[in-house]
Structures are given as C-alpha cells and as structure tokens.
Symmetry: C2
Subunit: 337 residues, 2 copies
C-alpha cells in the first residue's frame, strides 16, 4: 500500500466493499507497516459505532449470548461487527473453531461481520490490535461492535476499557471457586446477565450477584484512571453511583431475554451520553492505548540503539547473579550499558 | 532503609528471621524505593530454590492441589514458599479469602510461607512483582516455591515463564467451552493433573487431554522466545520432544496422587538440568523480565519529559479525531509533541 493506495483502500471501505474490509483487518492484525497509513486515514471516519464488551467465565455460554444478541440487534435494523478475542490461546487454535460455529449460525447476513482473534505476542499488543480492528469496523459503518473475550483476567480489564458498555455473563452451577473470579470481574460490569436461566439454581445465582453488588464490588472508577496523566479524581467517582447495574436473565439458546438485554444496552448508552461519562471513557481508553503503544515503541527504540552482543552480555551477567535485574535496567536507562 | 540497613535486612533474612521475610515481601509488593536496594543485595543469594508454576481453570480445585502438594513436599523434608497470584481481582478482594483458608490448613509450620497477591496496576507489573517475591523467598532459603495463578490467560503465560516446571490442573465435568481454555493452556504444561479423579468422567478427561497432547498442542518452544534478542532457534525446539508430558490423577482433598506428582516434578527438574534447558529457561525469564521493566521505566521517563498540559492537548486532539493514535505515538517518539 502506497499513500495513494491506502486512500483507495479507505475509499473502498467507506463505500462498503466487503473484501476490502476483510483484507484490511488482516493487515491490521498482522500490523503490516502499510496498515498504519490506512488506519491514519480512516480514523477521522470513526467514532459513530457503539462498542460493547462481553465477557464471563468459561461455560457460561457467552458466545451463544453474543450470537442471540446479534440476531436481536439485526431485527432492530442495526448492523453488527463481532470481534471474538481469545487470549487463552497464545499461539494458535481456539478462536478458529468458534469462528466456524458462528459462521454457520449467522452466515449470509451482510449486516454482520465476524472476526476471531487469537493472542499474537504481548497482551498489550492484543488490546491495541482489538482497538484498531474495532476502528476498521467503525469506519465501515457497523452500528454496534461486540467485543467478546474468553476467560477472566487482566486481558478482560484491558479490552473492557475499549468498550463503552461492558456485559458480564454468568450462569448457574459454575462451581466453587468461580466465586473468586466473579469478585474481580463484577467490578467491570455495567450489565450482568445470568444465562442458562432455565437451569436449577438460576435464582441463587441472581441473589448471589445482587449480594455482591450490594457489598460494594463496584469500583469502575479505578478502571478509568489515567495512565499518562495523574488525574486527581475522575467524574466517574461522583456520577457513577447513579447507574444501577441491572441483573438480567437469558436463555440464549432459546433466544429468551435478549430484547431486555438490547434495551439495557440502550439505556446505559443514554446514561453515559447524558452524564458526560461517554467522553470520559473514550478519553481514558485513548490514554491507555497511547501508553501501551509507547511502551512497545520505546523498548524497540532502546533495543535498536544497542548491539545484540551488548544486550546478551548484560543478560549473561544477570543470569550469573553478578548483576541484579533492577541494576541492569538502570544501566540500560542511563546509557552505561 | 538506608544502604546499611538494607544490608541488615538481607542479613536478617539470610539468618532466617521470619518477621523480616514478611516485611520485606510487603515492601517489594509495594515497590518502595528502598526495597530496590534490598533486592539488589539479596540477588546474589538467589538461584537455589526450584520454581514451580501451578495453574488451571476455576473449579478444578488447584488451591487444594497446592496445599496437598505442600504437605507431601514437607514430608520429604523440603521447605515450601507459596505465592498465590490472583490477577482476576484488579482492585481488591479475592486473594485474601483464599489466604485465610490456607493459613488454617498449613498454620504453625515454619517450613511453609504463604503470600497471596492480588493484581496491582498493570499485568507486567504483577509478573515482575511475582518474580521479585520469589527471589526474596529464594534468598530466605525455601527449597521449592509454588506460584499458583487463578484462571487462564496471558497472565498465566507470563507467570509460567518465571517457573521452571509448570503444572496445569484440570478436573472432570468442567463444561463445554472450557475446552477452548485447555487448548491455550495445554501449551504451557510440563505436567498435567486431573484432579477430583474420583468424579464421573475422570477417564474421559484423561483421554481428552491425551488426545489434545497428541494433536500437537505442544509449542512450549514459543514460550521461551527472546524479547530482547532475536534468537534464530531456541534449543527447546530440538530437545523438547524428549519430555513426555505426564497426565497424573489426584484426589487432592484425600491427599491421593500427590506423591506421584512430587516425583514427576523431580523427574522434570532432572530432565531440565541434564538437557541444559534449565539455564535456557532462566535466561528467557530474565530477558522477559528486563523487557517488561524497561517498558515501564521508559514510559515513565517520557512522561516526565513532558508537561501534563502537552500530553493532555495531544489526547484531546486524538479524542476529537484530528489526530490518529499511531501518529500521536510517532510525534511523542520523535519529540515533535
């Protein structure tokens, strides 16, 4: 892609060309140097899509929720881009199978575009790539972008920072120490869903979640702290209490409860827009993204300024316990190594 | 802590003082500036402990496996340090409860030291802190250090890089899409454990894991790629095939199968030492740690070189879609912003 052809790509993307969309996402995922020019040119055309994060422990059926929610949004005349992120598969596998299952389910609908992403390289890299893929879908005109993440961990927190509304999916009978997971993941939830609500114990799960919410596991504030700027207090701190996290029941395999879920997303969207929190979340997301990208770029720069032999010697000295890692970092920073 | 008192701390630690151990770990966790001096001074006294990572999906009972394994190692006259990392709780909670449960179980044994760590700040920070806490326990003379992580994700991969032997715990009847987790996590396993082996379906779980191993979900090689040095090929690539990942059955609540697990750890340790892979893994771990620390230090340096107003203006321009994030990063890197 030259500069001229980057513009061609963006023109084709904005015109709704499907093949360009798929190809550009692949280039963005592979971080080809020429994809940067395309991302820079399509960026002014982003900002219209609404980004929704969906996460939850394995076994809750959240992929089925994503598919059923997509059908509901389609009935409401909204186009949907789905990014299924699987950070548990650092090298290969996982994501591809899920992709095929979805394809069968939602195939042939031009108002839906699905992309599965396995983990490439560092987690910071995955969050950055997810954000860029969302921008391509945004510029391509998709109304809602669903970002689905598997598992529970820091990756969810990072990727949830990209989304405006985060849905956490739970299900009855998820075992003993899943409770530990919930404590952490509850803190990022704007909407809670108890899926498989026809199973025994669904009411218990709802009650347990409500009790945890009341216990004060609501610290979304902290999620949007600044990574570049030390802000004294985010508006989240004072305003956030006005949003009551709803707990909704769904049976995604039967398509039950998805209308209420789509409604709750709309309500949360209106709440964020009216309170000014939407812009706050976008600002915090951009700040986190810039910080993550700078970390990688600065390390690359430092490595390029050294010879491999010099770096290798330093590593060997740390390995031989002649130099501790903290001192090695300081030597690299002040130029004495 | 002045330099002199940092040496006092290290002297007391090496002499086996328990209170110094607990206090120093707290300082390392909080990353107090004076803890750096202590870490530098104790570093030459590290390298004797054997680091074992234990991970697995929620509900597999891996905390019970850690406790039962600890009792077995104690019977074999080995002292055990346990670091329980809970990256699912980014702000608070989780880890503390687990800590109390363990305390009751293993209380009063001076040959055991347990520390739970919730996620503080970035994941890179958590992996670095885990490594430093392991060093304090190493210098304090613990023979084996068990690093337990909850959930499944990039955090496990990062923390597993710290360990020499990684154990992945599974259990029968973990639900449908847990399989997706397994695909990713299997790749980091040196030893597989099917816990709750008295439950229905245990043989199916063993068979499924064996089938997945045979399908070639064994790419440990990639886990130990260089982050600072582009190495053409790791020795892992050619030698690793000689280690057959064992699948062991345990009933941790009854203490069954833990002797075989302790034996397997010993066999893997001997294998790593004889093949030269132990040094390779240590080298790759140091490299990853230096890279993670440099990322943070370099970003801090860049932020200090700017005024908050300049950074804020840049963020506002990205938010207003006047500037794309990639261009913003390049401007910060070349000094034009």
């Amino acid at each position: 892609m030259t500069r001229a052809s980057a513009q061609d790509w963006v023109d084709d993307l904005l015109a709704g060309d499907r093949r360009t969309l798929a190809r550009l996402i692949t280039r963005v995922e592979n971080r080809t140097p020429d994809s940067h020019a395309a991302l820079a040119r399509l960026y002014p055309h982003t900002g219209r899509a609404y980004l929704v994060g969906i996460t939850g422990a394995p076994g809750t059926g959240k992929s089925t929720v994503v598919n059923a929610l997509t059908r509901t949004l389609r009935e409401r005349e909204q186009t949907v881009g789905i990014i299924a992120v699987d950070p548990t598969s650092p090298f290969s596998g996982g994501a591809v199978l899920g992709d095929r299952i979805r394809m069968v389910d939602l195939a042939g609908d031009r108002g839906v575009f699905i992309r599965s992403m396995a983990n490439r390289g560092s987690l910071g890299g995955l969050a950055a790539t997810t954000g860029d893929v969302a921008r391509v879908l945004d510029a391509a005109g998709f109304d809602v972008i669903l970002i689905e993440t598997v598992g529970a961990g820091q990756s969810e927190v990072d990727i949830a920072r990209t989304a405006y509304t985060t849905i956490v999916v739970d299900a009855p009978g998820m075992g003993d120490d899943v409770q530990a997971i919930k404590a952490g993941i509850l803190e990022i939830a704007d909407i809670l869903v108890v899926n498989k609500a026809d199973r025994p114990g669904a009411e218990n799960t709802v009650r347990a979640l409500r009790a945890m919410l009341e216990l004060g596991h609501r610290l979304r504030t902290n999620l949007h702290h600044g990574e570049l700027l030390a802000r004294p207090a985010s508006p989240d701190a004072s305003i956030y209490d006005f949003w009551q996290v709803p707990i909704l029941k769904t049976i995604a395999t039967e398509g039950e409860g998805l209308g209420a879920l789509a409604d709750a997303i709309e309500r949360h969207r209106a709440y964020l827009a009216d309170s000014g929190l939407l812009v706050e979340r976008q600002r915090a997301g951009i700040e986190a993204e810039l910080a993550a990208r700078l970390r990688e770029a600065l390390l690359d720069q430092l490595i390029r300024q050294r010879t491999p032999a010099a770096l290798e010697e330093l590593i060997e000295r740390v390995l031989a316990r002649q130099l501790d890692p903290g001192s090695a970092v300081r030597m690299l920073m002040d130029g004495s190594a």
